[in-house]
Symmetry: C2
């Protein structure tokens, strides 16, 4: 499901998005774009501190914010935790939260059809659906 990217490809993505490709940012992208599944900043920090010589918490947060601002990631805030969750799926899509495992699944937009009868004065820009339940093995 996750894509595989060379450091060069990541570097290009960052440059194209107007983000200077530092060592720390490339490494974090490697994790969030190619490995992680809806990680929190804490998970990114844990991974980075194990896989890089040295990286500070501030850099992790700075990088996550830079990636969100550049449009390479989205920040999610969901009911089950107060931590921000980062999503490398930047398409419009929906989510399924497995309350047994805590895992979050992406649901492609076209799998969900939301029909609403809202009064005309409600002008909708975005619709997001969160399913909660469990996923059978």
């Amino acid at each position: 499901m996750k894509i595989s990217l060379t450091p060069q490809e990541i570097e290009k993505r960052l440059m194209d998005a107007g983000v200077q490709p530092t060592l720390q940012r490339i490494a974090i992208c490697r994790y969030v774009l190619c490995e992680a599944d809806h990680p929190t900043a804490e998970q990114v920090k844990d991974w980075a501190q194990q896989n890089l010589d040295k990286i500070s918490q501030a850099t992790v947060y700075n990088t996550m914010n830079a990636l969100v601002d550049a449009g390479l990631l989205r920040a999610l805030r969901l009911p089950h935790t107060e931590k921000v969750i980062y999503d490398d799926n930047i398409e419009d899509h929906h989510h399924f939260f497995d309350e047994e495992t805590g895992r979050l699944y992406d649901l492609p937009e076209e799998q969900i059809d939301v029909r609403s009868k809202l009064p005309k004065k409600f002008k909708t820009n975005r619709v997001e659906v969160l399913f909660t339940g469990k996923v059978e093995d």
Copy 2:
């Protein structure tokens, strides 16, 4: 839209829910059940400190948690803020967030029809839709 309740009615609701009806709790219920619209704990505290002789922040949080645990309120966590939002509408329902005003509107469950084609292993317990946009005057 909001209901009007006498202190006696509030007292009964609390007792029925197994919550001892203290002065602080009755007052807070008066606000959250009869006046407020999706308030945060901070808004409840501000109201309470203006309208009661004296009340501590801890009591406001304790009370909000007690009311949620008793099923009289629901706690919402939405993308636009990191503060918990309290909802006196305990029915299943959806929300419309007006990004201009910051106001949150309840959408009755029956106004929204969500049709999903999820793989069979996804067993859904709850579906929540968040619309974002603006409400024309």
